[in-house]
């Protein structure tokens, strides 16, 4: 199997940081706030691999740093340390060593992101079609007719009514906004997709359809995905492998079935038990 992403020792500290930050935070210390300098150790020493067509789950309670991982990889926030290598065909990109223009190029051409809050992923002042057009224009497609066709095809694929392609997303329901966001993220057929709590806050039937859509996309396009969620149902349905995070550290990794059926870490055991 082809490796798509290799993340090693990723860390992000908010605040000045001090020599005691690492030892005095984490699951053992039961906090991510350094008592010496007040810095927040959002993530520390996160490593994982991702392969083509694979869906990796990142789970943990809120504040465990799971969103920070994908935000760092999508260049929304610069990490404090660590490295990540993106394998794109024959070329390798060391993500955090690239300059801003190259990072933007990768973000626009090769990555996709779906945020929990459609506010972050969509511009509510331009039409649904315009949102998709923006992403296509960012990837240097300059033909109006072609952009229009692609936007319509993508919205049809994500089951957004074509009669609403020129409406503003702020007039859409939450589930529909999320589907527009997915269509936008898929516009450039990226080999790597980040999904940050995509179904949180949606009702169950809408959740089910969006999860179906994500699975279909994975089957069709062989897109590798990193799915961040605290919902064990989503983890069970979508992912093959998962990592469990607490206070910024990875406390358990393995096959999803294994983690859910036979959790090793006390926290994972509590998490699984509480969900059932």
């Amino acid at each position: 199997m082809n490796k798509v992403l290799e993340v090693r020792n990723l860390s992000k500290i908010y605040g000045p940081g001090c020599p005691h930050c690492i030892e005095s935070t984490g699951p053992e210390a039961d906090t991510n706030l350094c008592p010496h300098c007040g810095s927040v150790v959002a993530i520390h020493d996160v490593s994982f691999d991702l392969f083509e067509g694979e869906i990796l789950g990142v789970m943990g309670e809120s504040g465990s740093g799971k969103s920070t991982v994908v935000k760092a990889l999508y260049f929304d926030q610069a990490p404090s340390g660590g490295e990540a290598i993106f394998f794109d065909g024959d070329t390798q990109h060391e993500l955090f060593a690239l300059n801003a223009a190259r990072q933007r190029w990768l973000r626009n051409h090769r990555f996709g992101m779906v945020y929990q809050n459609p506010n972050l992923g969509l511009n509510f002042n331009i039409s649904a079609g315009g949102n998709i057009a923006e992403r296509l224009l960012m990837s240097d497609l300059m033909d109006y007719g072609a952009i229009r066709e692609r936007a319509k095809a993508l919205l049809a694929r994500t089951e957004v009514l074509l009669s609403r392609v020129d409406d503003l997303p702020k007039h859409f329901s939450g589930g529909m906004q999320q589907r527009v966001q997915i269509a936008k993220a898929l516009a450039t057929q990226p080999p790597l997709l980040f999904l940050d709590e995509v179904t949180t806050g949606l009702d169950l039937s809408v959740q089910a359809r969006i999860l179906d859509l994500i699975l279909e996309i994975q089957q069709e396009l062989k897109t590798a995905m990193v799915v961040v969620t605290h919902d064990l149902g989503v983890i069970r349905l979508l992912t093959g492998r998962a990592i469990v995070m607490k206070y910024g550290r990875v406390i358990e990794t393995g096959l999803t079935d294994q983690i859910l059926e036979d959790p090793q870490h006390a926290y994972t055991q509590r998490l699984v038990a509480s969900a059932l």
Partner: protein, 299 residues
């Protein structure tokens, strides 16, 4: 530098109103703007004895470039006689002794203009100074100047194109009438000041230097001679200029000189009818003069 040598007779003001240090700074900004076509060079816009927004950016450029023997033309929307043009011309006459003014485009060596480029093609010895209210084309899509600077640096103009896309979706064509975003020399996109679309193609590979001065926003930028200036457009929806056709599809002509290839202004006559006339008054006068001399020869 001896600033005193430039003072004008008994007048306490320096030649060109600005002190020599201010002129030097503006000239340096101009040189940088020419060296990086389309880049907005910040400068310390001086307080002028008129409100910001009345062309102080253009005026400062003019006063920094002007020297004795210069022939200056000042126009406002194509006309030499409207308020802004008359006042700026008088100010230049008052503060720059030895400088002559003209209304003839062909005779001018320095042309300061508000919102029009003269119809007559400019020559390599002429400089066009445009007054700019809003220098940054990205201001409509990004409120943060910090982010706009990054976007300019990376030539990230996709959000401007999204605006064009939305226009075509809603109205079947691009509806920007003036301030049309234009890419200079393949990188920076400029706001070419509120010139009509008609004038945008004439920035492309122009023989004359075009300078843009925004006094309130404190920016100077330039389109050097023989430089690419491409209005943003889609590959299958090309940029087009105003066509001035009537309901029957005929090109309207100027009611005064009969010209059919100039930018027209629309007026209401006393009878309440729409009348069209050349926006560039010098162009119109010249056409009229030629027509009359032809008639004279025929008679």
């Amino acid at each position: 530098m001896n600033a005193m040598s430039h003072t004008t007779g008994g007048n306490a003001y320096n030649f060109g109103f600005l002190d020599e240090y201010a002129k030097k700074e503006i000239r340096r900004a101009v040189l940088k703007a020419i060296a990086i076509p389309g880049y907005q060079v910040p400068y310390a816009s001086r307080e002028m004895p008129m409100g910001r927004g009345f062309g102080t950016g253009g005026l400062q450029l003019t006063l920094a470039l002007i020297g004795p023997g210069e022939v200056v033309k000042v126009i406002d929307q194509g006309s030499d006689d409207s308020v802004n043009a008359v006042n700026l011309r008088q100010f230049i006459e008052m503060t720059c002794p030895g400088v002559s003014t003209t209304t003839r485009t062909a005779e001018a060596s320095l042309i300061q203009s508000r919102h029009r480029i003269p119809e007559r093609p400019l020559t390599p010895t002429q400089i066009l100074v445009l007054q700019v209210p809003y220098p940054d084309p990205l201001v409509v899509v990004e409120p943060s100047e910090d982010k706009r600077k990054i976007m300019h640096g990376e030539a990230d103009y996709s959000r401007l194109l999204v605006k064009l896309y939305e226009d075509i979706v809603q109205f079947d064509e691009i509806t920007i009438s003036h301030r049309y975003p234009t890419r200079i020399n393949g990188h920076y996109v400029i706001d070419p000041s509120p010139i009509p679309r008609w004038d945008v193609p004439r920035l492309d590979h122009a023989a004359a230097l075009t300078l843009f001065g925004a006094g309130r926003e404190k920016k100077i930028y330039a389109v050097p001679p023989h430089t690419r200036a491409e209005p943003l457009a889609f590959s299958d929806v090309p940029f087009r200029v105003e066509d001035f056709r009537d309901a029957a599809g005929r090109r309207r002509a100027c009611a005064r000189c009969g010209c059919t290839d100039s930018f027209l202004d629309e007026f209401s006559s006393d009878a309440g009818e729409k009348v069209y006339q050349c926006s560039d008054t010098d162009w119109c006068d010249e056409k009229l003069l030629r027509k009359e001399s032809l008639r004279g020869e025929a008679a």
